[in-house]
């Protein structure tokens, strides 16, 4: 039986380890998934390629948590997005959660990102227009990354995927684990 989000969180809460460490790890792992998903979706989705077509080449974007991370930096190269590394590296725009709690709420689908914005839990560092472009790109990635019941919770207007998009979603899921493995090796070689 699939555990509900609340049950899963209850279990996480009961783990007798440093709570901050657990939250940090959870967000860090989520960033790895998001990074890998960005790479795969940007490879497979026409819609995503169209969305980032206006981005300047080598634009670097980041997502992170204040004050000590984790962070992830992504970069647009040609018509795809790649992970640069875990950390902030000359980013032009960054989405910053004010604390780990806020990030955990969003990444465990307890709160939508637009609700987090409206509750001042996320701030933008950098150009506002770039932030909006990143937000739309992130929404496309989320569309292919999360199951429909989560999309129904986190989107103002939940997307309804076409057959073609469902096939892409399946391909993203299939490619995600190898992509995570590649990402892990890539990050190992950097650090």
């Amino acid at each position: 039986m699939i555990l509900g989000i609340e049950n899963t969180l209850d279990i996480i809460r009961k783990i007798p380890i440093n709570q901050t460490w657990a939250k940090y790890k959870l967000v860090d792992i989520t960033f790895s998934f998001i990074g890998a998903a960005f790479e795969e979706v940007s490879k497979l989705s026409k819609e995503f390629k169209e969305e980032i077509s206006d981005w300047n080449d080598e634009r670097r974007i980041g997502i992170g948590v204040l004050p000590k991370g984790p962070y992830i930096t992504l970069e647009k190269k040609r018509d795809q997005v790649f992970v640069v590394g875990k950390g902030l590296y000359s980013t032009e725009v960054v989405f910053l959660f004010k604390n780990l709690d806020s990030a955990v709420m969003v990444f465990t689908a307890q709160m939508s990102s637009h609700q987090a914005v409206s509750e001042c839990r996320i701030l933008v560092d950098g150009n506002n227009a770039y932030a909006m472009e990143l937000n739309r790109a992130l929404s496309i990635v989320q569309k292919y990354l999360f199951p429909q019941f989560i999309l129904n919770m986190i989107f103002k207007r939940p997307p309804v995927l076409t057959k073609r998009q469902l096939i892409i979603k399946a391909r993203v899921y299939a490619a995600l684990l190898p992509a995570l493995y590649r990402l892990r090796n890539k990050l190992k070689s950097i650090y």
């Binding site: 914005v117 509750e119 701030l123 933008v124 560092d125 227009a129 909006m132 937000n135 739309r136 103002k156």
Partner: protein, 391 residues
């Protein structure tokens, strides 16, 4: 109903009423200041409004160190740097911004340059990037719309990157807002109408957008009531001091409301309309407001419905949707009345917009941060559709 979480902050001291301007030197003393720099524009000077401020200093031991009256329609980083240079050269210790949104934003920009000790504003754009305690800023609005006198926002054009920089920080709140009816008395009827509709848009968007909170709701409702009662009077009879005072206060309340609650898609679409087609902000807001409310109708019918009695509708309704439609009807009526009284455009084409520019404007609108706070998702096609309806 209370939101799960909200934040509220407004540290601005408000002086509102007849001869409020006369109290500026005394208030400067309380702030520990003796020598003020006035930031204004040529229009304010030629209307003689700056003399009201000068006069206030005639029997005071505080003084005006210098006057900068070259604020353009859109404040820029170059202007902010000029203001900062002049401020330092004249050993001033506080700013008095007299004018509309641009004068206030220019003073805020100059203040950032002086207080953060930088000439590169680009590094400080964004949320909470301005962290230094800024020097005292006294805001004296001469229009009743922007609400800049009580907001933590400054929008400054970057001449180098050719883009608008938005600064948002609690440090950007002016120390004092001076609301004196004498200062808005010379505003022409059409600008009174446009700025009044701007204030109405601030209040309505603050009331329906995602970041709404119960404190701002009070300010928004009060602002809407005042605008409903006094905007047409202020346009018909510009010398009506009561109406001017009410509208200045309405803009102030609406400003407090949206500074915390933020705005939504009307502002996103209006900002882009301003950037692409140079439509004045208040005019764009006025034209787009009813269409955007209609767009949001299915998402927040109860909130839009709650505005109808505030706008003077005494009827009872069996459901929220009908009542919300009545709210939109009243706003359309107000817009049509203002069109009759002042010539305020009711369609984008009457404001000089050409149809081929709508696509570019829609593209800009969805890149505006305000759409994030709109109750309903807005994509390119939605924005374009609304522009076409309002065209």
């Amino acid at each position: 109903m209370l939101p799960n979480y909200y934040q509220y902050f407004c540290p601005v001291k408000i002086l509102s009423g007849k001869l409020a301007v006369s109290n500026i030197p005394y208030e400067m003393g309380l702030l520990g200041c003796k020598r003020a720099m006035i930031v204004t524009d040529k229009g304010v000077v030629s209307a003689g409004l700056i003399n009201n401020v000068k006069q206030a200093f005639s029997d005071s031991d505080s003084e005006i160190g210098c006057i900068f009256d070259e604020v353009p329609a859109d404040s820029s980083n170059i202007i902010a740097n000029k203001i900062a240079d002049l401020f330092k050269k004249n050993n001033c210790d506080c700013f008095i911004a007299v004018g509309g949104g641009s004068a206030l934003d220019s003073a805020k920009g100059g203040n950032i340059v002086v207080s953060e000790r930088t000439d590169d504003l680009l590094k400080l754009q964004g949320v909470d990037k301005v962290t230094a305690n800024l020097l005292p800023l006294i805001a004296v609005p001469t229009t009743a719309g922007t609400g800049s006198e009580v907001t933590k926002v400054a929008v400054i054009y970057n001449e180098d990157t050719k883009s608008k920089m938005a600064f948002m920080s609690d440090k950007l709140y002016p120390h004092i807002a001076v609301i004196d009816p004498k200062m808005t008395m010379t505003m022409p009827p059409k600008i009174t109408a446009a700025t009044g509709m701007d204030a109405l848009t601030h209040a309505i968007e603050a009331y329906i957008c995602l970041q709404k909170n119960p404190i701002d709701d009070i300010f928004a409702i009060t602002a809407i009531k005042l605008i409903k009662e006094y905007l047409e009077i202020a346009c018909q009879n510009p010398k009506d001091e009561t109406a001017r005072m009410a509208m200045a206060n309405a803009a102030l309340f609406a400003g407090i409301a949206f500074s915390n609650s933020m705005v939504g898609m009307v502002h996103a679409l209006a900002h882009s309309m301003g950037a692409v087609c140079h439509v004045p902000h208040g005019v764009a807001n006025a034209v787009l407001l009813p269409w955007c409310l209609e767009y949001n109708l299915d998402k927040v019918p109860e909130l839009i419905a709650q505005l109808s009695p505030i706008l003077g509708d005494n009827k009872t309704y069996s459901n929220d949707k009908d009542q919300a439609e009545s709210t939109i009807f009243i706003i359309r009526n107000l817009l049509n009345n203002l069109n009759r009284i002042t010539g305020l455009p009711t369609k984008l084409r009457d404001a000089g917009v050409t149809e081929e520019k709508l696509q570019a404007a829609a593209k800009g609108a969805i890149n505006d941060g305000a759409v994030l706070y709109n109750p309903k998702e807005v994509c390119f096609d939605d924005a374009l559709e609304i522009y076409k309806k309002a065209f």
